[in-house]
Symmetry: D2
Subunit: 341 residues, 4 copies
């Protein structure tokens, strides 16, 4: 059986694993103070074109969202996000668990619009009772979004302008950032994200690592005593080397970008293959996640042969499924899929 179930079905990219093997018996200090973390930090800062950046490593996506949001908000503030944003819908209330409300605004294909953000924040301050309400304290976006869609550079700049107007930090969840940056239909580069956002993270778990997310604070704005806050969340890894070595490898010789580009090529071929065969798409995604509107007889063909993610059932005769490619998708996987179709 071939699998397009998710972008975390395989272990680590072979080069990442090799680096773990190569460094395995070195004696290294803990908690992110080792040399590989230091190397990785420098390479990431360079890749971001942001000398002043501060880079920290965490283990997973929900954890990273939770640590960043709760560390940056004041107690009476909430984070503004799309209704479909990961922090809002799919993190089991990890943000609320830290005492903060997720303030949702409308979305289209997973994206929020600058004008809806502006309307929301203006409405808040215009409300005579706003001192009895949760203050908007930061803005969360995901790129790619939960639907695989991407913001254009202009859309990001527009959101930034609203953030500037109301002094709201902008936080970008890049759990799948590589797949966004390497899309053939984007004008957003890593440097743009570093310039536009106050904080963002570069996903490792879904882009070649066993685990790990690299958090980048772009202008000397790491919350005070961040290591202590990370520890307090139970998120501090004793063997920080595990994250350092992986990111050091991913940011050596463009590996992160190359393997992301591979996944995009695979996704484009997957898309073309499905279109040729008459499959209909739920929405148009320019990244590695493809959402397909399947008739039930089409889905029947996949049974026992293709692993996918069930997404939703829009009506009795159809099912939306997600097919994801990743750095680990092979030509053979696609050839096998073509045979099945």
């Amino acid at each position: 059986m071939i699998s397009f179930e998710s972008d975390y079905i395989a272990g680590a990219h072979p080069k990442v694993l090799e680096a773990l093997i190569r460094t395995n018996l070195e004696s290294l200090s803990g908690y992110g103070s080792d040399v590989y973390c230091a190397f990785a930090r420098e390479k990431i800062k360079k890749a971001c074109g942001c000398k002043g950046a501060q880079v920290h490593f965490l283990v997973g996506g929900t954890q990273t969202n939770q640590v960043i949001v709760s560390s940056m908000l004041k107690s009476f503030e909430g984070v503004v996000a799309a209704e479909t944003g990961h922090v809002s819908a799919h993190e089991a209330g990890a943000i609320e668990y830290t005492g903060h409300k997720v303030l949702t605004i409308p979305q289209k294909e997973g994206k929020i619009a600058a004008k809806d953000l502006q309307t929301y924040v203006e409405g808040f301050y215009g409300d005579a009772n706003h001192e009895h309400m949760v203050f908007p304290g930061m803005v969360y976006i995901s790129h790619p979004t939960e639907y695989g869609t991407l913001y254009s550079k202009e859309e990001l700049e527009d959101i930034r302008q609203v953030c500037d107007k109301f002094e709201l930090p902008l936080f970008l969840d890049g759990a799948r950032l590589g797949y966004g940056l390497m899309s053939s239909r984007t004008d957003v580069k890593l440097e743009d994200i570093a310039r536009i956002c106050d904080v963002f993270y570069i996903g490792g778990t879904k882009v070649g690592a066993l685990c790990g997310e690299a958090v980048v604070f772009t202008h000397n704005n790491t919350p005070a005593h961040f290591l202590t806050r990370i520890k307090q969340h139970g998120a501090l890894l004793a063997k920080g080397r595990l994250l350092g070595v992986q990111f050091d490898t991913l940011f050596t010789d463009n590996l992160y970008f190359e393997i992301s580009a591979h996944a995009i090529r695979m996704a484009e071929r997957l898309k073309e293959l499905l279109k040729t065969k008459g499959y209909e798409f739920y929405l148009e995604s320019p990244t590695n996640q493809q959402f397909v509107l399947m008739k039930d007889e089409q889905l029947e063909k996949f049974r026992g042969k293709v692993a996918y993610s069930f997404w939703e059932k829009p009506d009795a005769a159809h099912t939306v499924i997600r097919l994801a490619t990743s750095w680990s998708t092979t030509e053979e996987d696609l050839a096998e899929l073509e045979k099945i179709l």
Copy 2:
């Protein structure tokens, strides 16, 4: 420079790494639902001699303490622990962050006594104002303790009796459990712990894994929707295989016990070596952590040659340091140390 700085200075045991390599490209489902997690669960249950046990995998020690304690306590309850317990002193307030007080009782060399526990709980219920106080809701012990010491089976049974009397679950932090079980001076086996405790964990991070702790609920008492609670804490690993493969390997062919026994042998030789050379010990530890009371001229010899952990400065002329062995300590390390001494 040789290092006895901690038991997490190296990567993973080579066999663990080999297993990660061997399984790396298999397509596996996420969040702990893969076959390696299943294999590991079965092997751990067998090793515990506890068929009804429920095994869950988490990433690190503080995280595991936080998730277990906050999932088992009611909101008005706190966890009873030694003043020196890791949950009390060295987790940056991770327990309090989830809304619960750590209720401290006296300790001796890191251990609590059944009678002090009983005095505390009786005192609580005897206080006319106890409804205005935090209720004791569970008991936390570490084994080995933060000072490398061990409970005897009798001491554990006595604590259990007090727990039974007051219906308090007993939780054992086994971040270094292997080194406790393989001590030459213990009568406590893994089966005893599984029988005596309501929940405990088998540390991987410090005993051969890159990361990971195996939580064991011993009598069908996993908190409801535990996966959701783990997610809510930001503690759910997408690639659960990373934990499953490691623990599957550690519990195959007694690896976990063998590498722990190796560390103990190294610790005993380290201790003998130091004693022979006239070094004084801060306390008598039967496990892999040794606390040495160093004169300043003795410490001088280590400079640039032996990495250690500073523990405390009892007076101007002395320093307590910790030297730790682990699965990764070698004969060469000891030979080198002998030369330096």
Copy 3:
């Protein structure tokens, strides 16, 4: 200037104040253990027609919502409420502060519908990823709602059926309950509420008391150690008598109902007066809060003469205002308003 600004502009009903004076120098024990709290409990249980009810007194509405919701939910659960529900919109995140998400569903004039609730809960359990989401753990409704509207008995029964189906406790916020029960257009009695809900509260602050809300658990379902939980929220009043004496008085000789009925009569005359004068209503409210859609020239007449609450500005030429009557509204107030109009 006359005031219809809110239903908490005056102090306490004179009879309530008299009772405070009469009992002022009696030596009474604290924290709700005094005889007046006991008397009040019995009278409320009788008024509810619910012998097994358990009655507790708290100080204010947001506090009561926070204490009840956080005491009844498990940590991985949220409370389902209307988007406009007080717990969702106007409590500064008091629910989230205790770690729980407010799960919002659509509303109409402040009310939720049983079928929308059912759709939501079914959708939750139908979602393949629901273990990564916040579980619905209880249902919150307000009666009267934030828009002064009322549920019919049938609507409440329908919501109850959905709650039964999914084993969700039903919680009714009765901050203005008296004004709902005494509406001329309701078929819902206090006994119905006690029968249909798992927990609700009878608002004192807005219905004749200086402060105070009487919480009623209807079937022996007070959370364990509720006094300790109240204390933990900072919500336990030392002089519990202040609440006991007030509610004892309000539930003696039907005072609570009589003064509520007075406010309703005043509201009906206010409504008629405004309609006669050609004023348009934003929505049809059968209780003491009236929402009027004012042209700006109409609003001009009120300046400096009538105190009201600004609600919202639907367009440039109109303003929605709220006029509230209460037990303290007088014939003179209405006569004065008529002159101004």
Copy 4:
């Protein structure tokens, strides 16, 4: 039966009640924005000799401690307090419920010493692992303490110096402040407290009010959006007038100080009476709470005649009880007690 059970056995001082009656039907705006709150704020600022002070009103002591501590601490900080401090021992974990640890230091008769505070904070910063620990973020003292004892001006200044050295805000819990200020054995005036502390509160509940504590921030250091934070804690009173009117009265014509002085006179006579009769004291308290070490035959005399608080049982033949006077204690109470003794 006469009662010395606590200092909150009676309602409000008659003048306070009269003011509530007099203002009862005035239409006033809510949430502390009324004129009586404004009057009270001015009078308190004047009494404190601190023009720049900011005064806020809350309902009860535990609530006030919780709101102040959680609003002033950063998430990774805890509050330093005596082991016997109210925030540590008798608030059902209200501080921990907001995510913060109470960091306890030794005490003597309820008081902490500047040198112990210094030792603690120096020890914290001297610990190599302090980034893995809870940072001390503020200092809490109570005056009078939970044992009725008082700090001298010099002791307070010494604590202040340590606070200055480590930039720790100093918070004084004045739940019984009046009884401390009017003691015949104190050199500490309200102006001293306002000068030495960063924030403190003037207790109303135990000194003449039905409820209410007046929080004073002494140098423009009210946490941002404090009203929103209060609301978020469920601590915002709709009818803020209830607090404003009471404190306005208590700070008119020195009422607060006069009634406190009365309680002190009663306490001194109580103490003398007991000493004359050969009763032994558990400790020497210069305020309104007296702790008496009773032989069991002595206690027998009280049965059914004198209400007191049970404190503890130091041995089988003795009991420590607390007898409290207050503004409401009368000459008759003492005469009656004398008869019983």
